[in-house]
Structure formats: C-alpha cells, structure tokens
Symmetry: C2
Subunit: 508 residues, 2 copies
C-alpha cells in the first residue's frame, strides 16, 4: 500500500495558500458541530517519517481549536502502564463522545517496532494484529470514528534528509539513531509495515497512506481527509437524528449513530495525483526487438510452467485495466507458452443468477485451481471495488468492506502456496479512444465495441479514483499489484510474460 505514497505528490506554495484558509475555517466549524455528536473521534498519526508525525500533530493543533483536542503521544510505557495489560494505556486515554483525540506512537506502531526489532515472531505479530482489530472494532461498534494516517517517505528522501541533517545543526535534533536504523533496514522494515498496515486496514478503520515528502501536500492531504470524514460523520448524525425524530421507536436504548462505522474512510478527491500516474506510458519496444524478446520469455515461461506443474505448484493470474487496454492479447501471449491442459481462462462478465444469489466471492472460489494448474482471470473479484463501486451495483458499505475481504481471500491463496500475479493494464484516455475507433473500423474487431464502451469513458475519473484506492489498499507484500504500461502493446506483453515467469521462478 505504500507505493501509492511514493509517487512524487507535491503542492505548490500558491495552491497551498489558496486552500489553507478555507480548510482551516471549515475544520473549526465542523469541530464545534462535532461537540454535540454521539461519536468520538481518534485521529492516529503514525509513519516512517517520524519528525513528520510531530509536525502534523502541531499543524492540527494550530489549525483546529486546541481546547477540544486531546493530543496523546504514547512514549515508552510508564511504571503504571507496564504493570497492566498492553491496551490499558489506550483505554484510559479514549476521548469522550463529542471529543477528538490525536494519538501518536499508538498500538500499531508498537507492534511494528517489536516485529522490526525481532522481539516478536510472525505468529505473535498475528496475535497482536488480531487484538488491534478487535480493539478497533469494539471502539467503532460503540461509535468511535478512527482516522488513521501513515506518513511515508521513500528511501531516497530519507537519505537526503539524513544527509541534510548532518550538515545543518538546526535540523539535526529532529533525526535520531532510530531514523538511521530505518534507513539501514529500509526494505525489510517497509515489508513489515505493509504487512501490519494491511492486516489492520479494516472497513471500520482503514489506514490512509500519505506521501510526506512535500510538507504542504502532506498537511493539506491530512486536514482535507479529516474534513471529509467529519462532514460525512455529521451528515450521518443529522440523518440519524431526523430518522429518530420521525420514527421515535426506541425508548430507553441509547442508540449510537450507525453511520459512524462507515464514516472512517474519507471521500477521495479526483484532483489528487494517483499511483496510476507514475506509470511511464512512453515505454515502448519496437517490433523487431519484440519478436526476439517475446519468444525468449515465452520459452522461459514454458520451461518454468512445466517445472511448476511437476512440483505441484499452482498459479492464479488476474487481469484488470481500462477497456481496450489489451488484456485479451496479453493473455493469448501467455497461453501460447502453456500446454492446454495446464491452464484455464476464466472470463468474468456480469454474474449469473446463481452467482448473484451467493456471496460475491463465491464465483471466484469455485475457480481456484488444482495443484499444478493455472487459472487466468480476465477481470476478477476486483470488480467489486471497480465497476460495482462506480456503477453503484454495490452499496458503499459493501465495497468498503471488500478490501479486507479480498486481502483475506488472497492471503488464503498465497498461504496455500499458490503463485498469485495481479496485473493492472494502464493506458491513457487518448490511446483508448484511438483503439475504440480502430475497433469500429476493423470488421473482425467490431464485435468488441459497443456504445456502452463510449459511455464508460465518461466515468474515467471515477474509475481512476477507484483503481487508485484499490491499489493502495490491496497491494500487499504477499500479493503486490503490477502496474503495466500498456500504451505500447509490445511492451505490455513482454513485461507480463516476463513477470509471470519470474514469479514462478521465485516460487520454485
């Protein structure tokens, strides 16, 4: 999920100056309205950008009304705290209804730190993340809104800062031995971070990864996300109050606002720079080189696939991407290298009546391959958070919940030693139009194109937001997304065959 926070997002001074005053004004208004809410709010500010966390805490205190914010940075446990169960300190510090607390170095960070230092093993880590999930669920069920930020900087940025710190004594105090340790063990450290963030990113309390390189971008992103959550939360309260006033059915029961549980994820805005923008669409392979490379990669894939079959390793390959991005063509280049009995292509269209009568994952579970076989999904379970989200076929709670459900599902696949490759084929809007027109004018391609495709183009922005959130929330260390530059078909095809071969090789 961190790759979405390494895309070079930044905000110019002018833009910042334009957005800041209104944002601050509205935050304070919302905060005052929140005092009457039956919910409480916990804003969690964590990250590998340690000094950045301090900055954000200060910014929020400056921008909002500090009288109604409780700031808590949990340092090393006190004597009092050490003598009690782990979560005692957090229970003690919970904000009352109508109040907002900002927590730093909280429960998740301690687990990450313990795992990075090797103080706890994988199983113990799982036990703790389970405790975290249950703790956060109990809070969310009671109406607490959890907004969790992870401030991230790339390894290169960290290096730059550490160097600058050495030269500038005024900056030096901000960096400690800890940051050097993070730098030294960056790759393995971030793998731990990704695993734990993935496991604790639930529908009730999703993590929001924020790129922390540009301070202006970081501060505005965090504050806007809080504004978005506060708005939705208060709208929910109003709706609930209206409903209660109308119905007036509950007598003694204290009714928590049901909307609270759904409000923790901010509305994503489209204007943001997305992870898809990092794909370099100029990548190209000319036809001559393509012919050579594709044959070489296919031969490699063929050998490795045979070996995988012999060793009873199965694989699941899935393809998502824009209409006309070249999924079908890429799949054919893969299957050309496989024996027919080894693979099965599973094209995913609108669900059948029987499929609609089951859990949405049921249709995909059915196609999990046997040992030594390969299942190729042309579109997949990600439809839940793409087309079903954008077209409104799934309710908001349903697709919000789906990220965690999908991560669970894929974890079960990879735990069972299935090789899983997820591809997003990326093209730009102009290229799509060109291909649509070409399809219309080529007789044997005409069946592929309908008026519907042109209609869908109008929702490009909404799909872009959905795809971006999908990558941010389901790219896990055990099942990362591969974003493929597909404006050039040659490039995309070679890339895909190579990645599948590499993945098999790594697994064998």
């Amino acid at each position: 999920m961190l790759e979405a926070a390494e895309i070079g997002s930044s905000l110019s001074r002018e833009d910042y100056k334009k957005r800041e005053p209104e944002l601050r004004w509205e935050l304070v208004q919302l905060q005052h309205r929140f005092k009457a809410s039956k919910s409480s709010m916990i804003i969690v500010v964590e990250g590998d950008d340690r000094p950045g966390c301090d900055d954000v805490m200060n910014v929020l205190n400056a921008w909002m009304d500090p009288r109604f914010i409780e700031t808590q940075a949990f340092g090393l446990p006190t004597d009092e705290e050490r003598e009690r169960p782990l979560f005692w300190r957090y229970w003690r510090a919970l904000p009352a209804r109508g109040r907002i607390a900002i927590f730093s170095t909280e429960w998740t960070l301690w687990t990450i730190a313990a795992r990075m230092r090797g103080n706890i093993d994988e199983r113990e880590m799982e036990h703790r993340t389970d405790q975290i999930r249950r703790f956060e669920k109990a809070l969310a069920d009671d109406g607490t809104v959890l907004v969790k930020f992870w401030l991230h900087i790339s390894k290169r940025e960290l290096k730059k800062r550490l160097k600058a710190g050495e030269k500038n004594p005024e900056e030096l105090w901000r960096y400690r031995q800890e940051d050097k340790t993070i730098y030294k063990k960056y790759a393995s450290g971030m793998a731990v971070v990704e695993t734990i963030l993935g496991k604790t990113s639930t529908a009730e309390a999703p993590w929001i990864a924020v790129e922390s390189t540009c301070r202006r971008h970081r501060d505005i992103t965090v504050a806007e996300a809080i504004r978005s959550v506060l708005r939705r939360c208060l709208d929910g309260d109003d709706a609930a109050a209206e409903k209660n006033a109308g119905g007036a059915k509950q007598v003694g029961a204290t009714k928590r606002p049901e909307t609270a549980r759904r409000a923790a994820a901010p509305e994503r805005q489209h204007d943001a720079h997305t992870v898809l923008d990092t794909v370099d669409l100029k990548l190209k392979i000319d036809d001559k080189r393509y012919e050579k490379q594709i044959v070489r990669e296919q031969a490699r894939l063929h050998r490795l696939a045979l070996k995988a079959a012999r060793k009873e390793r199965s694989a699941v390959l899935l393809f998502e991407g824009w209409d006309a991005a070249g999924k079908g063509g890429a799949i054919r280049r893969l299957t050309a290298a496989l024996n027919a009995q080894m693979y099965r292509i599973v094209p995913i269209a609108a669900p059948t009546e029987e499929e609609r009568a089951h859990h949405y994952l049921w249709r995909f579970w059915r196609h999990v391959p046997r040992l030594g076989r390969i299942a190729i999904f042309d579109r997949s379970w990600y439809g839940r958070v793409l087309v079903e989200r954008v077209e409104g076929f799934a309710a908001r709670e349903e697709w919000q919940r789906a990220y965690a459900e999908i991560n669970d599902f894929e974890e079960q696949l990879t735990d069972d030693r299935i090789v899983l490759c997820k591809f997003w084929l990326h093209i730009d809007k102009a290229e799509q139009l060109r291909r649509f027109k070409e399809r219309r004018s080529t007789s044997y391609k005409r069946f592929k194109i309908t008026e519907e495709d042109f209609r869908n183009r109008k929702k490009w922005n909404a799909y872009e937001v959905a795809a971006n959130e999908m990558v941010a929330r389901t790219s896990t260390p055990h099942a990362p997304w591969h974003l493929i530059a597909a404006n050039d078909k040659n490039h995309a095809r070679v890339e895909i065959v190579r990645i599948v071969a590499d993945s098999l090789k790594e697994a064998l």
Copy 2:
C-alpha cells in the same frame, strides 16, 4: 460454556407429543416463507455427542421440507479438496439466498480435532479461529444467518452409552473408536472445545450449547431455536421491505437485509431449565462450624495474598448475583483477611456522566489493578448483559456484541497473569423476599432497601434468562464462573474465601 449443557435437562414424552406437531407445522411454513428471503441460512450441527449429530440431521430433514434443505457432512477432504485452500470446500457448498443448508463436521470441528490430536499448537489454533471468525463475518455481512449448535453430553453419560453399546450390538455400530478416545481424554478435550467455541462465539454467529442426554429435549430445543431465528429473520425482512418500499432511495445497489446479522441468536425462552437451577441451595454450614472454617480460610487467604503481593501477582474478583444475595457481606469476609493497601473495592452503580460518554468497558479498564494488588468489583461489566439488557438500557445489538467483547477483555487480563475470580451469588425468590422484609424491619439495614428492589423482583424471570445466557457464553476455561449457593450466608462466605485462596494458590 458447556456447564449449561450438563444440568440434566429433559422432556417428558407427553410434553414432547404436545409440542412436536405445532413446531413441525410452523417450521415448514417458515421455511417456505424463507424462500423469498434475501438471506441464506446455515445450520451447523456439531458436538461431542457424535451419533447425536447424525440423529439431529435426520430429525431436521424429517421435520422440515427436505426439498429445500441441503445437508452437508464434510468427511475427510477429497483429493479435489486437499489440493485447494482449507475453506474451498465450504465456499463451494454455500447455500444460495432463500435456501437453508445443514452442515456437520465443518470448519470449527476440524480445528478442535486437530488441536485435540496435538497436530496444531496454541498459536496455530488461534490463527485458525481467527480465520473462522473472518469467514463467518464475511458470510454474515453478506446476509447469511449462521445458527450453530453444539450437542454436549457429560462424561458420565458418554460412559453409560459406551457400556450399553458393548452389550447391545444394534447400538454398537453407532459408537466408534473416536468416542472411546473422547472418553479417555474427556477433561482436556472439553477444555479445547470450550476455548474454541468461546473464541468463535461472536455476535454474528454465537454457539448454542444443547444438552444431548435426553433426545426429546435435544430435538425440541434445536428445532425451537431454529424456529425462533427464522421468525426473527423473516420479521426483519418484512420490516426492511416496508422501509424500502417507503423510502425507495437506493437505485442500483443490491441491499442486503441488515437484520440478518442480528438474527442469529434465538430468543431464549424462560420455561427452560437453567444452569442456575443446578445450584444446590440447601447447602448449609452451621454457626459453630462456620466460625472455625471461616477463620481457617481467612488465615490461608492472608498468607497467600501476601505471597501474591511479593510475587507481584494481581487479582480481580467480581461479584454478581440477585439483590440481597449477600455480596457485601461476602466481600467484607474477604477484605477482613487482607491488608488495606492491598485491595480496592470498586462499587458499580449507575454510570456517571463521564462514564456514559465513553465505551461501557472504559470505566472498568480504569480500575484494572497494579501488580500485586487486588481489585474487588461489587457488580461489574456484566451489568451490560444483565441490568442493561433487562431494563433496555442497551440495545439488543449492543448486549449481543458484549459477550465477545467481555471475553476479549477478560482474556487480556488473564493473559497478563491477573488472577480472575467471577462469582454469581445465587438465592431463590422466597429467600430474597425474607431478606427484603428483614432489611425493612432492621433500622441499620433499612438504607439498603427501596421500592425499586421490589419492582425488580417482578423481573426475576427476565433476569434469570439473562444470567443463564451470561454464564453459558462467558464461562471460559481461563475465566470460569463460580456459582455460589447463597441461601445460607455461612456457606457462601466460606466457599468464596476458599475459592479465592485456591485460585491464588494455583497461580503461585
């Protein structure tokens, strides 16, 4: 939770004959109405009474319309199944909306069996129970109603049956080597069962323990619980349909019935024989023996408490029970044996304004003791599932959710090596009235009694149902309930001091 299924419940032939025809008729009606539901239902039939599970499956198939029931007994995994992730077989077998499936030897039982055989360790067991919880949550979120029965027989009953089986060849085939193994490892086996059932007894999918000694009682109990869940489920559907027809706001979104998630726990009926009835209220200690015994036990407690303090072990003792059951008196007999700085009494009355503004567990977390100290709760967090449930201060979803939340909380205490003793002081209705009258006529006791107490007596039955469900769902191996016969104060006091001393001793 199994003690509630060892209380000698039975049903006479006449009662059975009276209840059976109507029950069957209504089940079939409900089942036909369910076909139009947006939910599906999975009835899980498991238990240490293995042949009993088969019987119940047959009974349900006979009593309901078998055309609309899918019966699935998952035996050893097939080749097909072994080659895929663990849950594949269950996903495949999920019923469609409007359909009912009966599952036996399902996911939980496999985990229990693996743990009993020592094939998996504690951590792996926790990982699996976590998977089960997530799987069941995903189903429940999607509108599947899970009704899970555990059929239990006592060790004595199992022995009787095995003996009878040896003599009667017609019965013998029903018992296998497996049952003999269960008999031999009964105590440790049931501890595993209790742990796993406790961890997988969630608000979405609680276990219902059924005493399986008397077949008539067992069959009627299971069928009535299914009836109760079906009724509530269909009522919920009707209400949702009405609401949708009125509001008509959602356009494309397929809306699952929200009520489904809450319907999985059947309404308990009062006429049932409860675990509280097993307390032998005739137990008595005469004054002379009492004087000797209480002093001896107090001296023992004093020594052990000092030792616990030196070894930095803390304890939480909590007292629940009927009004006037003698909680205060018992607590005074405990504290008489302790040094004042060692303990703290936490009396729980109606929550303060500050407490009401937080999660209901917050006020109790605050009083978790430091190392070496003892916290004595005069009433406790169980108020959530007792007074708040009965008086309607907590909504149904809130107290239903509380069982799992309380088990989580207590697990954190015992994981932190805190000694936890939970007492329910039991008296009968007549004894309570006698004590109320005595309080009214004794000047220095008069402050203890108000008109409210007399009013509460009228809700005796509702409290009995609540207390019974509380014991059934929160008596876990790490935190069992002690049900104390308290009609005789002498007996209750000696018992309590002794149990606390024993618990400390065992922990040191």
